[in-house]
């Protein structure tokens, strides 16, 4: 029976719904669950609904696998849920949301760094 002062019924002041990653798994083997929860809950604590999962380690084929429940995602976003930055980036890469600016910027910086590191190595070879 759930009483008014029961430990299971936690009431918060303020806070909002967030869609973020909850870390699980074992040592040296992380695993994320994409979860809709109150912002004041613990990262791995009680959540409202699980909307997907993400395996950050690449598999035998070199792919990083993620699963998303787009229907419920739309529902929660329509109810006014916020997104954490890695969740935004993941959804941008998935195509559900527009690409995050920092994804593009990071890719540009990487490309520039690679060009800079390969050009001086090519230069002294020729010269």
């Amino acid at each position: 029976t759930l009483l008014a002062g029961s430990r299971l019924l936690k009431g918060y002041r303020g806070g909002h719904v967030v869609i973020r990653f909850a870390l699980g798994g074992c040592t040296n083997r992380p695993f994320f669950r994409i979860v809709a929860a109150h912002s004041k809950r613990a990262r791995d604590g009680k959540y409202l609904e699980q909307l997907g999962c993400l395996d950050p380690l690449p598999n035998v084929y070199g792919e990083k696998v993620a699963g998303l429940n787009l229907e419920r995602l739309r529902y929660w976003l329509g109810c006014g849920a916020q997104l954490s930055r890695p969740a935004e980036k993941l959804l941008g890469l998935a195509g559900f949301l527009p690409l995050h600016p920092m994804t593009v910027t990071g890719a540009e910086r990487l490309r520039r760094r690679r060009a800079a590191s390969s050009a001086p190595s090519v230069g002294p070879e020729k010269g």
Partner: protein, 187 residues
């Protein structure tokens, strides 16, 4: 590393309130360097990203509200009610468009009228200014003509001699028809 140890500095043995070490006395904390053009580009990208995100959220919100309304509706005859509602909304939109067209027409006509009035006022003002200028010119010319017959210190002696030589007699009577009578003595 793809999945390496945490790259965030974690407090090891020292508490937050412990003083920093002597070897770190000359340490100068500098913020990471920022490329201004990259910053501009990134700010613009963020602005557009947030715009799109806001629009998507509005879309999803509308969907959720629609579903809730649909769930709340009475089940029997709901299809006809929805259809009628949509028909009426379409008719309302048409009416609004028609009224807007009429209103815009009226506003356009008023604008034209106002412009015409302004032009007319400007023209009348210009013509009035011209008339005034002409009047002033005429007056100046008239004054110049009259100035030839003024008495100046040089003419003074000559004019006095002239007046004394030709005495003017103002003794005359005049009746309503304008006939003048110069006879002053009855006989």
């Amino acid at each position: 590393p793809v999945w390496g140890p945490r790259l965030v500095p974690a407090r090891g043995r020292k508490t937050r309130y412990a003083p920093p070490a002597k070897s770190k006395a000359s340490r100068l904390k500098v913020p990471p360097p920022v490329d201004p053009e990259e910053l501009l580009v990134v700010t613009e990208r963020y602005r557009q990203h947030r715009l799109v995100l806001g629009a998507l959220r509005a879309e999803f919100r509308a969907e959720v509200l629609q579903k809730r309304r649909e769930a709340l509706l009475p089940q029997e005859g709901s299809a006809e009610l929805m259809e009628e509602h949509q028909r009426l909304m379409a008719w309302n939109d048409e009416e609004n468009a028609r009224q807007r067209a009429r209103r815009e027409e009226r506003l356009r006509k008023e604008e034209e009228e106002r412009n015409r009035q302004k032009l007319q006022a400007a023209e009348s003002r210009a013509s009035m200014m011209e008339a005034m200028l002409k009047e002033k010119e005429k007056e100046i010319l008239q004054l110049q003509e009259e100035a030839k017959s003024f008495i100046t210190p040089e003419n003074l002696e000559a004019r006095i001699e002239e007046c004394l030589d030709n005495p003017q007699n103002y003794n005359f009577a005049i009746d309503k028809e304008g006939r003048i009578v110069r006879r002053t003595v009855l006989s």
